[in-house]
Amino acid sequence: MAQLYARYSSVVYAVALRVLGDTAAAEDVLQEIFIQLWRNPGAFDSGRGNLAPWLAVITRNRAVDSLRKRRPQTEISETTVSVEPDLAGEADRGRAMEKVRAVLKDMPVAQRSSLEMAYFEGYSHSEIAQKTGEPLGTVKTRIRNGLMLLRKAVETK
């Protein structure tokens, strides 16, 4: 577990801190994620993807649940994440993340904001429309196109 922690705690903590914006709360989520992994190692199905993206997603889900002060919405064992291309290696992951961050940086502010409000702040699409004053259809299109841009970024060699 010590080696697992050494390798992946940065990913988990970064996602938790990004969502919660509070170090103590992020540490609580970090603790919860690794304890769950310890208790239920079979929750991660290595045949369905790599550990880093899976940990990032379950951490995001737990952190958003915590932010929204609600009970966990999904069991970690029900979460499967399949990322193409293969991001098992730290170097591959680093290169892919550089591309993703570059795409996010170049994205129109409104589009990036919609994506981040949905994913990192846990707002529903109608809440985002309400908060930004944009039509619901515009929010939906922006979010989908934003995800497509991320996909293209890592597909591009």
Binding site: S10, Y13, V15, V83, A88
Partner: protein
């Protein structure tokens, strides 16, 4: 597009967990019946994972690891099994004792199996994480060895400009703790027919230990990687002799090359 166009945007929202109400219910119903939309949803979840992974920030404080390891150490282990064993009580009747003995045996067997199961689950957790790391490390190690041993590997002596060829020389890298030995030689002289060089560990106590037989390539280069050697040998020097091709158990004089540890 293989995805039903009318659900394309809803799928993206669903993958991010921000679809709600009737639209969510309607999409979930459609997903039960539509394999192509399920595939697209899986891909969109992968795209969303990229967004999650894009988060960057400081490393967790050291106290977080201490807290986690403390918590794991306190995780209940084998309580049910222990309680089951503690809960049994002897019966005075001899005929009943047989039944109780069988039951007690069963409890012990169940407890042992349960404990094994817990241990195995813990091991699997660690192993799953480590396997990925080990796969990467193995790949790196293979690349190092493959490069060293490649037929087309260039062995170039880099020396001050103008200096002519160097004399035969070798470098032995030995770790007693790792029980590993790597020997790299260059500019070795050609060998007589049916002879080979043999590397020797000269221990602080006892006789020289054979550590690999090798022949130089056409450029006089040679590499020995982790020859079979006894564990824990304290070496004071390394030596090279010329031996029959199959190697020897004791060095044949003279020693042609030698180096002592610092």
């Amino acid at each position: 597009m293989s995805v039903h166009e009318q659900f394309a945007e809803e799928l993206a929202l669903y993958a991010l967990g921000c679809l709600e109400g009737d639209e969510k219910t309607s999409l979930e119903k459609h997903l039960e019946e539509c394999a192509s939309c399920r595939r697209e949803l899986e891909q969109l979840r992968g795209d969303a994972a990229l967004l999650a992974l894009s988060a960057s920030g400081p490393k967790p404080p050291a106290r977080a690891q201490t807290r986690l390891m403390d918590a794991i150490a306190k995780e209940p282990r084998g309580q049910k099994a222990d309680a089951a064993i503690r809960g049994r009580s002897p019966r005075p009747q001899w005929w009943a004792a047989l039944g109780w003995a069988a039951a007690a045996t069963m409890i012990v067997v169940v407890a042992v199996l349960w404990n094994q199961n817990v241990r195995l689950k813990s091991s699997v957790a660690v192993l799953q994480g480590l396997s990925e790391q080990q796969r990467l490390e193995l790949g790196q190690a293979r690349r190092v060895v493959n490069t060293l041993m490649a037929q087309d590997a260039m062995h170039i002596d880099v020396m001050p400009v103008g200096q002519k060829a160097l004399p035969p020389q070798g470098k032995a890298i030995y770790s007693r703790q790792q029980n590993g030995l790597i020997f790299v030689a260059s500019n070795l002289l050609p060998l007589p027919a049916q002879k080979a060089y043999e590397l020797w560990i000269i221990p602080t106590q006892g006789a020289p230990i054979p550590a690999g037989v090798f022949k130089p390539d056409v450029h006089g280069g040679a590499i020995v990687i982790n020859p079979p050697i006894p564990a824990g040998v304290e070496a004071k020097a390394f030596a090279i002799t010329i031996e029959p091709e199959q190697g020897s158990q004791t060095p044949t004089m003279p020693i042609v090359m030698m180096g002592a540890g610092g």
